[in-house]
Amino acid sequence: MKKYISLISLLCLLVSCQEFEPVFTEKYPQPQPYDYTVPQANATIADLAARLPKSNRIKDKSLNGVEITENIIIEGRVSTTDQPGNFYKSLYIQDETGGMEIKLGRNGLYNEYHEGQRIVIKCSGLYVGDYGSNKKGNGYGMAQLGYTGEGTDYQTSYMEVPLLVSKTVFKGDPNDIQKVTPVKITTADQLPDATSTLATCSNIGKLVTVPGLYYGWHDPQYDEDNGAFVLLYINSLQDKEASSNRIFITGTQTGIDTWALSKERMTQSLLSGKWDSFNVGNATEAQSCKFGTVGDLRGDGSYPGVDKAAYSVSHYFTVNLPGSNGSLVPIGIQVRTSGYCKFADSPVPQDVLNGTRPITVTGILNMYEGKIQLTVNNITDIEY
């Protein structure tokens, strides 16, 4: 019997503490708050953006971004949040010299990168690339920081891999929050022109507030009046570049009166028949009606030929700002909003749509093909 008891004791000893302790108590030690020490920055965001040569400021799928090979470390404060969903998988940081999109490629970033939190990035091994420049290279887009765009249609790709992100992007103390103050735009020279970069306009990529925006914009190049703009796809699983797969709902008679189109809202709009007269295809094909109209895709009334999904919408506005000579210059600004964001279906008030009421918008100042876009964090960033 003694032997028996000692054998049991021995067996009990064999059982390691690691297996037993939390299991028995059902209590696991509460983890410590992270240590948020960050490396010292040695460059500005504008320094980093300057790494992107002019030869990259052009729409060309074969171009890759520029790899940062030196030990460049930048620092900035987070100016965006992906919580309402208008920013997705990436965030913007900014310092005195400008703002830049950091393509982290993860969901729910706001949980770990709070607005106003300090972020330090060791750029070595990452890539700076252009997004949104036009084919001719005379209308610039934005410099972005991400990973190599090799093998993709873009100059940079999302960083995505958690190990890559944690080796390059460092978070400052989440209790040290200094929310970015938006730059108030009051003169035309605060805004970029078609080929501005951070070297010439430090407001690019920053959070800005633009007051006095009136709905609608006359495009002098094509002599067109613009209201809302949305690009629908026949089948989003098919080639999105194919003309036959695209429907541009654009102009002043789109009937779109929300900031974006959720899937539900888009479906309702489509089924109402109000887009029936829009043609399928890019400009030329659409003009010749080569691929028919939206109405042709009606089918049994459920429009099986159109991909019912959430779609981003651009609303065109014009702001008249004093130029260098003091006279007012009309500048077109798009407010672009994602159909996946929580406020997608928020209405644009009728008196805004009819151009009688100006609005003030606070958002990230972006450039797309040389034109100015504002992307808001939340619906509250649009003031009437």
């Binding site: 028996y4 297996e19 190990l163 699983l237 279906d345």
Partner: protein, 975 residues
Amino acid sequence: MKRLISVLVALALCAMSFAQTGGIKATVVNRAGRAPVQGAKVELFSNGESIAHQNADVLGRFCFEGIADGSYMLTMKAEGFLSAQVNVIVEKGLMRDLVFVTLSPVTLAKDSPDEDNFAEQDFQDSGYSDAPTILFSNDVYSELAGFGFSAIRFKNRGYNSETQDVYLAGVKLNDAITGYSPFSLWSGLNEATRSKESTLGVESSQYGVGGINGVTNIMATPSSVRPGWRSSVLTNSSTYRLRLMLTYGSGQKDNGISYAFNVSARLGGNDWTKGVFYRNFAYYAGIEKNWGDIHRLSLVTLASPGQRGAANASTQEVYDMMGDNMYNSNWGYQNGKVRNARVRNTFEPITFLKYNYTPSDKLSLGATLLWRTGYNGYSALDWYDAADPRPDYYRNLPSYFSMVDEDYDRNSEEKAAWAAEMWNPRIASYSKYQHIDWDRMYNVNYNSADGRSKYAQEERHVDQNDLHAVFNAHYVPSGNFTIDGGINLRLNRTENYKKMKDLLGGKYYLNIDSFAERDFAANEAKVQNDLDYWVANNRQAEKVVTGGKYGYDYLSQVRDARVWASGAYSAGGFRALLAGSIGYNTFWREGLVRKGLFAGTWDDGSDIIIDGVNLTQESNGQTSKGKSAVSGFVIGSVKTNLSYTFVGGHRIFADAGYFVDAPSFNNSFISPRTRNTLVSGLKPIKTFSGDLNYQYSGNGIDARVTAYYTTIKDQSDVMSFYDDSQHSFTNFAMTGIDQRHLGVEIGVRVPIIDNLTLSGAFSWGDHIYTSVPKMVQTIDNSAEVIREDDVPYWNRTPIFSKVKDPVTGTEVYDIDADDNPIVKGYKNHYVPSTPQICAELALNYNINNWFLELNGQYFDKSYIDMNPLYRTTFACAGPDGVITPQEIEYMTEQEKFAPAFLLNLSIGKTWYIKNRQLGFSLNGNNLTNNRNVKTGGYEQTRLVTGAKHDVYKRFDTKYFYMCGINYMLNIYFRF
């Protein structure tokens, strides 16, 4: 085989010729441990008449002397063992020494940790573990297969767990909601539940008509617990570290009272799957009173409460990177301690009161009232609007960034290299990427605005209240005629809900539906899990704190009533039985909360209109709160068993049965967590099964050969998954699933020389799907039907004819005059997750209370559990809607696992010390340390759009593996 048998028979007979003169003698031993069975009742028959009987002595020996030449039959009976019989011929006045006659315990042949002796595994997130392979019977095949094939999760005849009828104290306890066999309710109570009666296959039983996969009745009454004290300590390396067990059975006292208890604890982790642990306790207590063998009343309560950490399946890519096929993605370090996210937490006590009335040998009547209650929770991570915390989430793997197959359009070698580096198991600091990063989740919650948890641990509850009233009668009107019958009534009320288990450092979790929010972010009412709460509380969703219910809450209500009867007639060696049952099964769902998506109407029937939006209309005719339509099915069965026993130990028997069963609750509602909608086109399940058997028992040889054939028709299945083509979470209901099972079972045991026995078991099956089921796919958020179609490739993959292209010389698909590819044949799809070919050969040696067993096992024809989405026209056609032979072959083929060979060794010894027994058994399993044996797995339901937008590509399959070399040591002491 025949030749082998005759050689062995001859050998055995040679061995016996060393016998002494004077009669028949032998030692009765336990087959499990070769321990003598003291007090076994041995009876000798001549021409069907009892001529002598003895009780085996303390060493299990018996000896009948002065027996005349002739043929005799010996029967052996002992409590806790299956009775056995042996035919013996006494010739020339010699003493026949049978050496050993073995009795099989009424349980597994060898000690095993538990009947459900597997590490719990998530299986397609069902939250249920597989059922054990159990075939208790006085039958060599069953002994070998029941224990030996369980490590690989062998399913008898390919049948699901639901087909095993499992009774406790005469009450069928298969789960009311799922039909699953209920062994886990008493796991750890091996001693108290040891006494069992079992039938095989289509055989009927005295407790009920039974189904196609045998009936097991666990006696569980105090008088059935073996008298005396029993204690054991067990350690093993494949499931848990330690089991302690203590049992006492009083046996019947002079005042007619017997009582018994059994307690046990199972604790710790194992050597193979990290994160898996047991913290399980079990108790059994019962008291019984016997009034003159006429009235018997017993009251018993038992439960197996505790927690168990579960293991998970991963893709081969993950296993290869970790260098470990037993990698488990369910756990991670929390402040340096291993913590499992998926823990089953149960306490489901069963209490029964059983009364038996036996006024005479000819009649006995019984009534049992049984109640199962308590809780059954299964934890999981929950998160809101934050990165997926599962380490092996597909976007964290190299394959997400780079694939050799160009169709996947994944060619970021650099990122793949980063991901591969992240999965380097030799770098300790990367553990947070390879396992759940609890510290990160806590830190996210620490810094979350207002203390709102973004990550939490939920516990999904399935809390049953299961009440049974069972009445049965046994009547013997004449010596060769027996009638059994009974009435079974069942009322089941099960509450299904989620409970907040741990807020992981946050203060509350918001009770909203994050899936609904994806589609209806702009409509706050529609994303509410509990709309009534939101309306009543100033449009604030509930802030759930620890212990709070959230997510969903509904009742599954099941009622089942049936009557059954069977009559058996026997004359000479002939026995015939006819049995039948009829009943009614009805079930419904009762939603306890109103979900914003399917709000239905207010309780007074008026439309729900919030901010001008009519949620009643938006509910699409569905409702979440209140009672669903009631589904009802007439159920029934008929069965016949015929057998004939020849002189000399030969027996042939045949069984056949036809069964009509109701579909189970869990396969009848499209999305029970969100709404009351029943699957349309539900039909009763129709099963036919028949078997033909030959059995031989004599001269130390036991053998059985069985052929069986079964068809199961009109089964249904429901599942929910994210459909990439719809960018939505969807429900997929499949009806009209038919199966056919056929096969052969052979079991043989022959003595070779003294103390050495050779046993073999072989099972060959061909279990296939035979129908093209119907499917209906709906969007979970809206109940919108998106596809309603056949699943044409569910049961088979076409084989297309190929020819050489005369121009290019390459192989191309042959086409007919209409340009359609030519199908030259089909590859069947098989019932998954069990080997359909199994073989075992075992050598048993025993001497002086030592036993040694060496066995080799071979398993083959095991298949992956198929995902029906991949067998639809839609998935094969790809985004372009054009279906090609390549796509069909690629998408629909069912993976077959590689065959496996296993070698096992057991050794044991019992010492007898003054009426006490001390013994041990040590099993070494999988001695060749084969770590590449897949025991199961499932296909993921995701689709990747091919680079050229013409095909869909599959996600990688997830697998479960068997562990490598492992041991189990059991030391027992009986006093």
